[in-house]
Symmetry: C2
Subunit: 96 residues, 2 copies
DNA sequence: CAGCATCCCCATGGATACTG
DNA sequence: CAGTATCCATGGGGATGCTG
């Protein structure tokens, strides 16, 4: 339980992971999906997810720069939990 | 997603909720199951869970005092998520 | 037994500005 | 575009002691 929370418990990690469930996303795309998350925090959370091996970061040596984020196979093992959390929140958010 | 994390995202909430899935527990019992959680933190986390309507607190007017905690029906709606998180953690904790 | 009261620290996270 | 770099505020959480 503590292990799981250490991985998805960050302020924005759940949302980021859920977005990436849908497929690869560029940094800017993620930003648009997390309007309340600062650029700095998005970077930090992504770095932590990368360190935990849940997210893969790919840098394309282009100008302007392009960076894509995607779930690793390990990241995908969280899928059912993420979907469950998302559904629970959707269903009960008004009760909080 | 954010709603769900706001409810189970606390440092000890997941563990507390998981313990209560098994049934009613007294304060002291919970403490023994969370040896790394201070008494103060356990109290605080329980109060928050109570405020969110996930946990019911029953005080028995006895000497010495007895207080029991149990999941509300609303709390039980988290069951599948909690079990999922617990299983994921058990399976992958060594990878972290 | 099951707590509250205090004091305190530091990690988490926010705001803003700058850059290859 | 996709970040760093800095500075700063908040509050989550710890240690300790007291109590009905």
């Amino acid at each position: 339980m503590e292990a799981t929370l250490s991985v998805i418990g960050g302020r924005w990690k759940g949302v980021v992971l859920f977005q990436l469930l849908k497929g690869k996303k560029r940094f800017g795309e993620l930003r648009r999906h997390l309007p309340n998350c600062t650029q700095r925090m998005l970077t930090l959370q992504l770095r932590e997810l990368e360190e935990d091996g849940l997210v893969k970061r790919t840098v394309f040596p282009e100008v302007p720069p392009r960076v894509e984020y995607e779930l690793t196979p390990f990241g995908h093992t969280l899928e059912s939990i993420l979907v469950g959390m998302r559904e629970w929140g959707e269903k009960y958010k008004t009760r909080l």
